[in-house]
Symmetry: C2
Subunit: 112 residues, 2 copies
DNA sequence: TGTATATTTTACCATGTAGTTAAATACACT
DNA sequence: AGTGTATTTAACTACATGGTAAAATATACA
């Protein structure tokens, strides 16, 4: 897993339309028109979103006559989840707030 | 948790410098100069990154004379992790690839 | 009041994204 | 060959990001 891959994954997820597209594809493969149906934007806009998702490795696209069925590829999401896991202790223990401060005082600033 | 918040969180994480900044702050609070030390970019560039992180709610900044100590606030990361969790089944079971295809064939396209 | 240090703000440039409409392409079918 | 449907590409606008250098601001301290 490269850093660039993680960049692209998080960037792809930063748009709500793209997250909704992935949610739709979680129910099964769909054509571009089917993917676009719930959204109030043009087909070219959806086509661009799909290109971003494909570039991030989050979907693959097949070919069935004039249809281009899209399918979820969740593998890169695992890397994103793995990255976030490292911070679980900080949100679970509130180590990002007061506890962190107290810990710093107690052990006397070991870092930086 | 708003959609905008999630947008900002994922967008903030899409830059490797910002992810590295968060990794540094995981070791404890640090001033802007300390945060910037490992990176080959200018202070204004770091200042911008910190602004993005602050806007995403991922750090807070205090005031200590002319220093602006930065501190990790991991709470928004939990929401990002929660969003990703919904897809765990897809990467664990390879449901995004062949299994998905077979499942579709077996139960006959219930969706779309 | 200066001076040194820390940080931000202000232009400025280049690039990527998000959207549009209109045109082009791909395929099936008659 | 011609038509209908699906999708992408092209050309365009607007805005955010990521970077820079130079100037401004904030604070401590002599």
């Amino acid at each position: 897993m490269t850093t660039d891959q993680l960049n692209r994954t998080f960037a792809a997820l930063s748009d709500p339309t793209r997250r909704a597209i992935l949610a739709g594809l979680a129910k099964g493969e769909a054509t571009v028109t089917e993917v676009a149906a719930p959204f109030a934007v043009s087909l070219p806009a959806i086509s661009k979103h799909l290109k971003v998702l494909e570039h991030a490795g989050l979907i693959t696209r097949g070919r069935d006559a004039q249809w281009r069925p899209c399918r979820l590829k969740a593998a890169p999401l695992e890397d994103a989840a793995d990255w976030l896991e490292h911070y679980r202790q900080f949100w679970e223990g509130s180590l990002d707030r007061l506890d962190e401060h107290l810990r710093q005082i107690q052990k006397g600033r070991t870092d930086e």
